[in-house]
Symmetry: C2
Subunit: 224 residues, 2 copies
């Protein structure tokens, strides 16, 4: 079996990506990054999802980005928006995908894995620059100049299979591959047991996806 490193946040997108990588026959090594986000419920969700979807192992790398600030996800002085925003939202974490892909690259090299999976998708393009296809391609190109493995003739591929899928398509794909979305956490301000607020951007996108897919929303919401 070919090994792959799968970035797993604990949200619905990365859970679906893990299920897709497993369905393609990869031996999946799931990687989560604890970067000082507001709550740890999504890391607990990542651990459960990794087990349920048969990942070989799940690791959490700790890296403290709160000292840099600049995002409502890592700086508690910036409130999480409850209204749709124009342009790049405050929940954007500077260089987050670059840092997470760099860590995936490091682990892939040690594991001798040639494939990295990340759950960026079309809905995020307009808001987050590091979710665009051109960015993913540029990261892959850079990675293939960065590592001992690439120099020795083993190129690396960065897979972003959700890139051109809508939230509704992601939900259908995940359900078809056995993802239990009630165990995933997308909310930017979930409580410690993983219950969602229902009002942040992430909750809104997620709920809209269930509605568009014509599937009942299995998200666990708390009463605000």
């Amino acid at each position: 079996m070919k090994k792959a490193v799968v970035l797993l946040s604990g949200g619905m997108d990365s859970a679906t990506v893990l299920a897709m990588a497993a369905a393609q026959g990869f031996d999946c090594h799931a990687l989560s990054v604890d970067y000082g986000q507001r709550h740890h419920a999504e890391l607990a969700a990542a651990q459960r999802v990794a087990q349920e979807l048969g990942a070989r192992e799940h690791r959490v790398v700790n890296i403290d980005l709160t000292g840099f600030g600049g995002s409502s996800l890592t700086d508690k002085k910036i409130a999480v928006s409850q209204q749709p925003t124009e342009g790049i939202p405050l929940t954007y974490v500077p260089a987050r995908n670059t840092i997470m892909l760099a860590l995936a690259l490091a682990w892939a090299e040690v594991l001798q894995a040639r494939d990295i999976f990340i759950g960026v998708n079309a809905v995020d393009y307009s808001g987050y620059p590091d979710c665009r296809p051109a960015y993913i391609e540029a990261f892959e190109r850079m990675a293939n100049l960065a590592t001992k493995a690439a120099v020795e003739g083993h190129p690396l591929a960065v897979h972003a299979p959700l890139q051109h899928m809508s939230k509704a398509e992601i939900i259908r794909q995940g359900l078809a591959l056995g993802v239990d979305f009630s165990h995933t956490v997308s909310c930017y301000q979930a409580d410690e047991s993983g219950r969602a607020c229902g009002v942040c951007d992430a909750c809104r996108l997620r709920h809209t996806g269930f509605v568009a897919a014509g599937i009942g929303d299995t998200t666990r919401y708390r009463v605000l």
Copy 2:
């Protein structure tokens, strides 16, 4: 004054780069990464060098790469070589420069800095793939697709001013700009007070540089 993020390991190369960036008029924000290296003497050296060379501030980001292993610098089960090696040395840390540049990118974006400095140099090319000019260019290209700042029309430049310099040239340049090399630590296995072993690859390259520059080696060595 234009802000810059300068990656500072505590070794002679990055100290010289910091002095060069300051001499070019940048307001320097020095960044060190504690990635689980064998000793902390180089981080103590980085702190001292940052002060001596007038950096605005110095931050250390903690990230534990020891769980990934794969290098004699982060895995204590792999011995540090005391002989020159063919190909990529065991001291290569998987994706290290990619991880460090990604962190510099994140901080630069928060600071609204458009310039990152890194002390990779020609002597390292043959051994470390992520020291090559093509790699640095590919990182810069990727970075300019990754960030909110770049999307909003503020491109980022990655400067590697030592790229085409020999160790002797670096030493002369550093001395001309006031770097006290006795306060820098290059040794892969320095003791906690920063005294060098004198026999590892890094010590050998450093000493050879002083000899080639015709300058007395001010490195503090310990008796092995």
